[in-house]
Symmetry: C3
Subunit: 158 residues, 3 copies
């Protein structure tokens, strides 16, 4: 892979449409032979969770409930309407042969995209390493993410 | 225009305030003599639609209804309140001589900003070339957008 | 500080979680010795307001009401539930020793991060220089912000 010329994507959002855009861009960059890193923080951390319940304290358990189901339970940023939006979106994508989110994530992994979990987000939301999918890198902080960004051609906040 | 030094803006949002920010940045970059590309994807595609109804299937028609009216029917991301937000925002901008969205778009075009429609978004939302304003470039995919980004100084996801 | 290698952050959002992410990234960049600029526009301008009421006209006063309280009254982009979200978020952060927004802003200032107010946003929202915290730079337009971006390694739209 080319160095100093890659793409760093900060996945802050947990909305299905934005996460989908993030993975599509990451896949495109990796397919073009560029070093590609995705840093999952705040709501974006749900995208790399296994989907089981997490958290011990009151707030951790509330976050766990909200994040339950992982990548397959993510709704779009608009027209969610209590889950109908997600269903509608999935139907529409299916009828146009658009790849589901879980497959997009697997394609990204297969192409060598690095998935970096934000350690502060994990601490606040009481998410442990074993709650994340096996393929993620070691959790890291903003400094490590910025190190990637300083060696990238484009850095996106999604 | 200078090469390898431009700006690429991914317009994902269809919110009036964000679209306005996107065009203001694009205009500023083009006015500074930089190659400027805007890639319209997901909800952002509304920004370059003519505003007529689109879509044949159920979901395509639903998207068509939601996107009807094009750039003049776009509401802000906050305080929309069923259209009041958009009206309030427009009044406030008018009273401060802020350029309306449609004029901003025209200024961008006049300054040579390239408007690139995302072909996947067009397929999913059942939008055809004739539904888009005449000034847009040929529709393209993530690979083409990334090619622009790799020759840009700044790439933004809005 | 290193030149041509810094970070420019456009803070468009006024949501607590996004603003927090913006300051964390800015602090990380400044701590790594990079020139770091934050350009506050649209809803983001609240982040650098003192918090008192602003605006003379109808719309300016409405914006003033919405922005009252400054950085301590900012709610997260999700699960706000009329203020409960903000309270919950603050409790969760407190119990995990996460720095509050106001302290984050001070740390950024202490590390030399430049805070640039967008002059168009100030005009539209009827915010004057004396409504902003003392530490901000002179207000500026998109052209000045882009000048910083063209000398940065990464430019983020948050």
């Amino acid at each position: 892979m080319e160095k100093n010329d890659g793409v760093t994507i900060i996945v802050f959002s947990g909305d299905m449409d934005k996460v989908m855009a993030a993975f599509n861009i990451a896949i495109g960059a990796a397919a073009a032979g560029k070093e590609t890193n995705m840093f999952f923080t705040f709501w974006g951390i749900k995208t790399i969770q296994k989907g089981n319940l997490t958290g011990q304290g009151l707030f951790g358990r509330m976050m766990g409930l909200l994040n339950r189901g992982g990548i397959n339970r993510i709704g779009p940023s608009r027209f969610n309407f209590g889950g109908i939006g997600r269903w509608m979106f999935k139907q529409m994508m299916k009828s146009h042969n658009i790849t589901p989110l879980e497959e997009l994530r697997q394609t990204a992994i297969d192409l060598g995209v690095k998935l970096l979990p934000c350690e502060m987000s994990m601490a606040v939301m009481e998410i442990k390493r074993e709650h994340l999918i096996d393929e993620v890198e070691d959790s890291c902080g903003v400094a490590t993410m910025l190190e990637k960004a300083f060696h990238s051609k484009a850095t996106l906040f999604i």
